[in-house]
């Protein structure tokens, strides 16, 4: 007993001794000093800020014109060198110029697209294959009182291109600052901060302690001290920028959206007070006196709130409203927004006879600026550049695809068996066979009715109803959603997704699966088109360039309907969308749902099942 007790006693004594020692060490110092423990907490909180600055500083751009005069700021958001800034910065600098990064180097930049209405522009930095970049946050998560850091080049103070950092808090969210000129430089739903924002900060990032960009600084309230910060700065929210990114990448001069109807506060309700009778929203059923309950899925409590929200949307955006009519019924309306026009520039610059070298560059830039502002809003100004970005983001989608698959490799095809549902009721079964070459074969077995089969061999389409295989045109194929959904899942893992439907271009911005998306357009030699949509960000505001929708019709209307894809899951080396829905119309009414029962590798190595020639000849025999 003795020999076993003593070690235990020793251990116990030692534990007590150590505990006592720790108590003494953590005893707080006097008021004139700070205890080491408290000091560590203070330094740890400070470190969070230092880490956030380290994360972002490499991506902050000092923007100049070609003479390296003037000053604005920007932030790189894509490693290929795509940066966001303000429209009024490029108005001052031109359609090209010089940029400085925190590495101390200067780079050339070109303008891609601009949005004068909301004061957002994007530029392309040149000279490096990979640039440091920052990620956009979900600005809906920003709260008053959050720390807000701004980085940029106020008063053009930087000499080594290192950005200026200022610290403050978010003073207000969803603020409104009136614009200037015709429908320009309006800051709606913007973030107000007391971080020091001065001339030169414009276009630079506002970011949180996680190092994510919550907004782009662009304006301030200035007192009669002149244009010097007095504690009120405003930043365009990152979510608004996401809404406009696709149109800007498409090289457009982008307009902002309007319903051509207005609402005002009346006795605690938000009521339609003006409406253009010929507008799309009037045709869709909105009337004077209707009470606005929701706009873009947000409950509306004031007319100001509606006005703020609509400032964040581009022309063409499919906006949804929920209204209460005069008879108390609830109605949902979805319409594409009309554009708020800008004033056209005056006269083009007069060409000069035999200009001197330095004058020639000036004249070129002046002409380019004129061309930009005179451009047809919504038109693709630079088709070559547009196609470059179409390829770039298709590449991003392929990168997302590979990343989501992880280590899984694919050698074999895949057979997917789905239950087909309409309004929750099973109406049939669908079996899709996908081949690594992009070929697909789809068999639809409705509960009542004949079996339908579709086939795509990579080039040609065929359909079999009532026993005989017949060739289909591409146009007919685009109107068959069941064939399309399989073809899409097979196509996106090939080297050139959707190439069969023609050359791909960036059509513009749109909403798909409730989030901003790039709408791509394929145009085949017969001038027949096809659309597919890619989301740039997922619901957590992380980058995830996934395919979300396809259709032969921009509004998912017409016979072809549209198919939406969600919840991509890896299966045997393939990515399959667990949620596929055939939708109809701008409001994306669900018509038919495909629910996965099983997804198994196609063990039959022969691809005879996709040999259209053979099958058609067989049928003809």
């Amino acid at each position: 007993m003795n020999t076993e007790l003593r070690p235990c006693c020793r251990r116990l004594l030692m534990c007590c001794g150590i505990c006592l020692l720790l108590q003494i060490l953590s005893f707080s110092g006097t008021a004139q000093e700070i205890s080491p423990e408290d000091w560590n907490r203070v330094k740890a909180a400070e470190s969070q800020r230092l880490d956030a600055i380290r994360l972002v500083e490499g991506s902050v751009v000092a923007i100049y014109d070609f003479g390296r005069q003037g000053g604005g700021s920007g932030v790189v958001i894509d490693a290929s060198g795509i940066a966001v800034t303000n429209h009024h910065v490029i108005m001052g600098a031109g359609v090209k110029g010089m940029a400085g990064l925190a590495d101390g180097q200067l780079y050339e930049w070109d303008l891609i697209g601009t949005d004068p209405g909301g004061d957002v522009a994007i530029i392309q930095l040149k000279g490096k294959s990979e640039f440091p970049r920052s990620r956009l946050a979900d600005s809906e998560t920003v709260r008053v009182g959050d720390w807000a850091l701004a980085m940029g080049n106020p008063f053009v103070l930087t000499e080594d291109q290192s950005p200026t950092v200022t610290l403050g808090i978010v003073s207000g969210v969803k603020r409104f600052q009136e614009g200037a000129g015709q429908n320009q430089l309006v800051y709606g739903n913007c973030i107000q901060v007391d971080s020091s924002i001065n001339p030169g900060n414009s276009g630079g990032p506002l970011f949180n302690l996680s190092g994510r960009v919550i907004g782009i600084n662009g304006r301030g309230s200035f007192l009669d001290r002149g244009r010097v910060n007095v504690g009120l700065g405003y930043a365009i929210s990152s979510n608004q920028i996401k809404n406009f990114l696709p149109d800007l990448l498409a090289t457009k001069l982008v307009e902002h959206g309007t319903l051509d109807a207005n609402f005002s506060d009346q006795g605690g309700r938000v009521v339609c007070s003006t409406i253009n009778e010929t507008s799309a929203v009037a045709e869709a059923g909105l009337e004077l006196g209707d009470e606005l309950l929701e706009f873009e899925s947000e409950t509306i409590e004031s007319a100001n709130q509606f006005m703020n929200l609509i400032c964040t949307l581009p022309v063409g955006w499919p906006a949804t409203l929920k209204v209460r009519k005069s008879d108390d019924s609830i109605r949902e309306i979805t319409v594409r927004l009309l554009g708020l026009p800008y004033a056209k520039p005056g006269k083009p610059p007069t060409p000069k006879e035999n200009p001197k070298p330095e004058e020639r560059q000036q004249l070129e830039l002046q002409q380019a600026m004129y061309d930009l502002l005179a451009a047809e809003p919504g038109a693709i100004r630079l088709p070559e550049v547009n196609r470059h970005y179409a390829k770039h983001y298709l590449g991003r989608m392929q990168g997302w695809y590979k990343a989501k698959l992880g280590q899984q490799t694919r050698n074999l095809g895949l057979t997917i068996e789905d239950r087909v549902l309409r309004q929750g009721e099973e109406v049939g079964r669908c079996i899709s066979r996908l081949d690594p070459t992009g070929a697909v074969r789809v068999e639809y077995r409705p509960g009542d009715g004949p079996v339908e089969e579709y086939l795509f061999d990579g080039q040609r389409f065929a359909i079999r109803r009532d026993g005989q295989w017949k060739e289909m045109t591409a146009t007919e194929a685009k109107l068959s959603p069941l064939l399309l959904q399989a073809m899409a899942m097979a196509s996106i893992q090939t080297a050139e997704p959707f190439a069969r439907f023609g050359e791909v271009s960036l059509d513009g911005g749109d909403k798909a699966l409730g989030r901003p998306a790039i709408r791509f357009k394929s145009l085949d030699p017969d001038e027949d088109w096809f659309y597919f949509w890619i989301n740039l960000y997922d619901q957590n505001s992380n980058e995830a360039e996934s395919l979300v929708q396809i259709s032969a019709d921009k509004d998912c209307d017409g016979k072809g309907r549209g198919v939406t894809f969600n919840d991509w899951q890896p299966h045997s080396g393939w990515l399959v969308a667990a949620q596929r829905v055939v939708v109809q119309g701008l409001a994306k009414q669900p018509e038919m749902q495909l629910q996965i029962e099983s997804a198994t590798p196609l063990t039959d190595p022969s691809s005879d099942w996709a040999n259209i020639n053979a099958l058609i000849q067989e049928g003809q025999r």
Partner: protein, 372 residues
């Protein structure tokens, strides 16, 4: 029991290693895979309250080295501007004791009026007459001396290399007229500003603290608060940015030889070349379009349509790079300049002595008028 005792050595050795290995592995895993824990609201609040305490402790640490400067008389501009500003405040200003025998650093801004009489109240409450010695117009700092003192408290300095962009920075000044100093908390916004001479901060910097210290959380001196604006050399230039989140402080680490020159009464002026230009379309350098008469450029024989290729070996592609190179030198400095004279194609190198900005009748001397 005897059996256990015999077996125990093996068991205990094994269990010893197993238990400790487990603890080690567990702690390593915990340290690496612990999910990024966001501090709770209560923890954030505590950190902020403790930061306030740190501000107070830091301010208390610099307080013994703080001095209050009183000026009597001098010129004040009511109609025109003096020192670049229309009206200077009437109150006391701030300085920092930098040597135990009574040398005090402050800002030239505090003496725009050229007061004939300057007194200084040190932290022990004693008031003494002070002499104004040398000044550096490029940094807007100057040196005072009080006599008959020893063992005066001086601040601990922190080197700019140890200053981190984003860290806390607190300005301290007595300019509001109270015996106690006022503080403002901000961060270090950038380093290497104004020709590499200043550290930039977004703490409130204004006449209330010009000449006073910008300190870090440990109470060490980051620099002396001064008004600066790269667009103008007037003494008061930069005051238009007071309390705007754009402020500057001049670090004293590395300024030892400068202080010696100020002790000797030297006046250091900014470098001035006297040219205007734009980037040469062929990219060779800065194409000059104007050379002001009576300036260093004119004296060296530079002419309009010459192309300035480099100054001191650094390429001058545009006016901005020229300004930023010149910003690092003083008037009187001799430099090598490379240029392509008008009409020629070969570049040649010449020596050039930098001049001072053209004399401004208002601020040509800070020397006080004769006193009785």
């Amino acid at each position: 029991m005897r059996l256990m005792q015999r077996c125990q050595p093996h068991w205990s050795r094994l269990s010893f290693w197993v238990v400790n290995a487990t603890i080690l592995v567990f702690s390593c895993l915990a340290a690496r895979q612990l999910p990024a824990q966001e501090p709770s609201d209560a923890e954030r609040l505590t950190a902020m309250v403790l930061t306030s305490k740190a501000f107070r402790v830091a301010a208390a640490k610099i307080q013994p080295a703080l001095v209050t400067i009183e000026s009597f008389g001098g010129v004040s501009a009511v109609q025109g501007k003096i020192g670049g500003i229309r009206q200077q405040g009437e109150g006391n200003t701030t300085g920092v004791m930098i040597s135990p025998d009574g040398y005090i650093i402050t800002s030239t801004f505090n003496f725009i009026k050229r007061p004939p009489v300057i007194t200084v109240i040190t932290s022990d409450g004693q008031r003494r007459v002070a002499q104004l010695l040398g000044r550096d117009d490029t940094r807007k700092i100057c040196l005072l001396k009080i006599d008959g003192v020893q063992g005066m408290p001086v601040p601990e300095l922190v080197s700019p290399t140890d200053v981190v962009v984003g860290q806390w920075a607190i300005s301290v000044g007595v300019g509001f007229g109270d015996a106690n100093a006022a503080i403002s908390a901000g961060i270090v916004s950038a380093k290497n500003r104004i020709g590499g001479k200043a550290i930039q901060t977004d703490a409130n910097i204004s006449p209330a603290c010009y000449g006073g210290p910008l300190i870090d959380l440990e109470g060490r001196l980051i620099g002396i608060c001064v008004p600066l604006n790269p667009q103008s050399q007037a003494i008061g230039a930069g005051v238009e940015w007071y309390d705007s989140g754009i402020g500057f402080a001049i670090p004293l680490v590395g300024a030892e030889s400068l202080i010696e020159r100020l002790k000797a009464g030297e006046r250091i002026q900014p470098a001035f070349l006297g040219v205007q230009g734009a980037p040469d379309p062929q990219g060779k350098g800065l194409l000059l379009n104007q050379v002001s008469p009576g300036t260093a450029a004119a004296a060296a024989g530079l002419k309009a349509e010459d192309v300035l290729v480099s100054v001191n070996g650094e390429p001058t592609k545009d006016l901005m790079s020229l300004r930023s190179i010149l910003g690092r030198f003083e008037a009187g400095k001799e430099l090598e300049v490379e240029l392509i004279p008008k009409g020629e194609s070969e570049a040649k190198k010449i020596q050039l002595v930098l001049g001072a900005p053209p004399a401004d009748p208002n601020q040509s001397q800070l020397e006080p008028p004769k006193i009785r």
